[in-house]
């Protein structure tokens, strides 16, 4: 089972959010990238777009499937990781680092997210 880094928050749809003041960086978890397999395409919003918690904000495609990205927070997109256009594999190789998706200016306090320990316990119930 993948080790979820401490200090960031996790959603049940396997996205993570790292809070930095009134901003958050969002990505997909190691569990998500492992389940998806080799990621071949990442569709992201544009800077200025509004994200709503629990709502779709893009998609990831892998050799197995296409999945929606579900935002863990409310906010406005400040920056997107354009490096993923040419190198979507960064989501596989470094999901918590170079594979980040978007940076968001938060418009509310994130709710209903899990810490690393709770997320790992959640993943254990999702696996077989």
């Amino acid at each position: 089972m993948s080790n979820a880094p401490a200090g960031i928050l996790y959603s049940k749809s396997h996205e993570w959010a790292r809070l930095e003041g009134d901003q958050a960086v969002i990505g997909i978890t190691a569990f998500a990238q492992e389940s998806l397999g080799d990621i071949t395409y990442v569709e992201l919003p544009q800077a200025g777009d509004t994200l709503a918690a629990d709502k779709e904000f893009g998609s990831v495609e892998s050799v197995k499937a296409a999945s929606d990205l579900i935002s863990p927070v409310d906010g406005e997109v400040l920056e997107v990781n354009t490096a993923l256009e040419d190198a979507p594999e960064k989501c596989n190789s470094d999901p918590y680092g170079e594979g980040w998706l978007v940076r968001v200016k938060l418009s509310g306090k994130p709710e209903g997210l899990m810490d690393a320990a709770a997320y790992e316990a959640f993943c254990a119930t999702e696996a077989h």
């Binding site: 389940s35 080799d38 071949t40 395409y41 495609e61 050799v63 197995k64 499937a65 999945s67 979507p88 594999e89 696996a127 077989h128």
Partner: protein, 482 residues
């Protein structure tokens, strides 16, 4: 294998058609004529025969081997339907003829075929009428959701939401979106629509819900136990129910979707009624409707006069219009009719019974080989299983190819981990199913003893393991044919 272009030798040819008919040069303005002849391959007749026979031998088909591709119903289609559809009275009929002023008199047999097929399908599904215009299943889905949109529009309201359970077919959300609906995903619980999720969606969207698209049995191969409740709740807001007929092969003679409360259904005749699968040829996706959607069907419709003769009815003011040319793929409809007449009601029922029997036999026998969820429930015509812990569905699928079997559907539905979805169909024998079980047992044992050997599969086919990741990341969509 070389391409036919690579086998070309300048000046070589088979035979030339000699004709006095005018050529392009006699009919087109000089400015539009090409300057040089097209670069077509130059080959002898034998070169051509060997090339295409060679290609056909590389092809995998149900005529050659077992093809348990889940959700696709790759059953064997008896050849006699080809004979019937090729009868000159059908195959040489011009589609315009029935539309000419006295054309109906010359096409009574063909119109009768359409009319009788419609009656058969109505009997099979409990629907009131069918259109044959949609050219395939997904086109049928699109037609179905357009009919739902027309229903609400005729009542002076715009409804934007289409509810789709997550165990439905993947084409459902696409068809709904194409028709202008926003889809609302309904999560499942224990392999069934979660009634709480349904109620929450209805509470959130209320009278903005146009309908619900149901795959039943669902993509897990399970019959939906909450069906009566789902029908009841949607009726309360006058939302319509769509039945995805792609899994019809499970329920013929067992459940009539019109009787259960569905308003519209499409049938994949290539899955259920013995017509050919894809291959670039014409398909057909007839759509049936109940009373409420009857006025909106595409035009024209075949009607019977009082004297028992047939005519085309165009006076359908609320029709959604044409969804395909003429009356759909007429030849395919003839094949479906021939299949139904040959099997009869009893035979069609037995086909579904054997489809379910074969799937349950396979599921039971694989319980100690794969990780089979919902093991205590009977499945319908197909079932899902996960690769054993630590193994990948993809590797198992590729290893099956080496043993002469087509792979089951993998990684679908998305709600099952490392999913292998098998649909044996009614046309396979116990011996074939047993051989498939033996092959899977051997593969799993091999994967546990020597994991690397599975990632190498296939080793015995014309091509080895494709690099799917590279193919998706660096797409090459054209090829130099020289």
């Amino acid at each position: 294998m070389k391409t036919i272009f690579a086998k070309s030798v300048p000046g070589r040819c088979a035979w030339e058609i000699e004709s006095d008919a005018p050529g392009a040069a006699d009919m087109l303005p000089a400015g539009l004529l090409r300057k040089a002849p097209p670069r077509l391959p130059e080959c002898s007749e034998l070169d051509v025969v060997r090339h295409f026979t060679g290609l056909s031998r590389l092809n995998y088909s149900v005529d050659a081997n077992f093809y348990p591709l889940g959700s696709c119903t790759m059953k064997y289609n008896p050849k006699f339907t080809e004979y019937v559809a090729a009868l000159p009275g059908f195959s040489r009929l011009h589609p315009m003829l029935a539309q000419l002023s006295r054309g109906a008199a010359c096409t009574q047999g063909a119109l009768q075929c359409l009319h009788e097929t419609e009656r058969w399908l109505c009997e099979l599904t409990g629907m009131k009428a069918f259109t044959f215009q949609p050219m395939a299943g997904a086109n049928g889905e699109f037609t179905g959701v357009k009919l739902i949109a027309a229903y609400h529009k005729a009542r002076g309201r715009t409804r934007k939401k289409m509810l789709i359970p997550d165990a439905a077919h993947g084409t459902n959300p696409a068809s709904a979106a194409l028709a202008g609906f926003e889809t609302v995903n309904i999560e499942s619980r224990d392999g069934m629509v979660d009634p709480e999720a349904l109620m929450a969606a209805l509470a959130a969207h209320g009278e903005d819900v146009a309908g619900l698209m149901m795959t039943c049995p669902n993509t897990l191969g399970l019959m939906e136990v909450h069906l009566p409740r789902i029908v009841e709740e949607l009726r309360k807001v006058d939302a319509l129910l769509y039945y995805d007929g792609a899994n019809m092969n499970a329920i013929m003679g067992k459940m009539r979707v019109g009787d259960v409360g569905f308003d519209v259904v499409h049938l994949n005749v290539h899955k259920t009624l013995g017509t050919p699968h894809g291959g670039g040829g014409p398909g057909a996706g007839p759509v049936g409707v109940g009373e409420r959607l009857l006025p909106f069907l595409p035009a024209p419709r075949v009607a019977m006069r009082e004297d028992g003769s047939y005519r085309l009815e165009y006076n359908l003011p609320q029709s959604i219009g044409y969804m395909g040319p003429f009356y759909g793929s007429f030849g395919v409809v003839v094949k479906a009719l021939a299949y139904m007449l040959r099997l009869g009601g009893e035979g069609l029922t037995r086909a579904s019974e054997y489809a379910a029997l074969n799937a349950n036999y396979l599921k039971k026998r694989l319980e100690d080989v794969l990780d089979v969820p919902f093991a205590r429930r009977f499945c319908a015509h197909e079932f899902v299983a996960s690769a054993p812990e630590g193994m990948r569905a993809l590797d198992i699928a590729k290893a099956l190819l080496d043993r002469g079997f087509h792979a089951p559907t993998i990684y679908f539905p998305l709600i099952v981990k490392e999913c292998l979805m098998a649909e044996p169909t009614e046309t396979e024998s116990k011996e074939t199913l047993d051989a498939y079980v033996d092959a899977l047992r051997e593969i799993v044992a091999q994967g546990k003893a020597d994991p690397q050997s599975l990632t190498d599969a296939p080793v015995s086919l014309p091509v080895r393991r494709m690099d799917e990741t590279a193919a998706a990341r660096q797409m090459v969509l054209t090829e130099d044919m020289a």
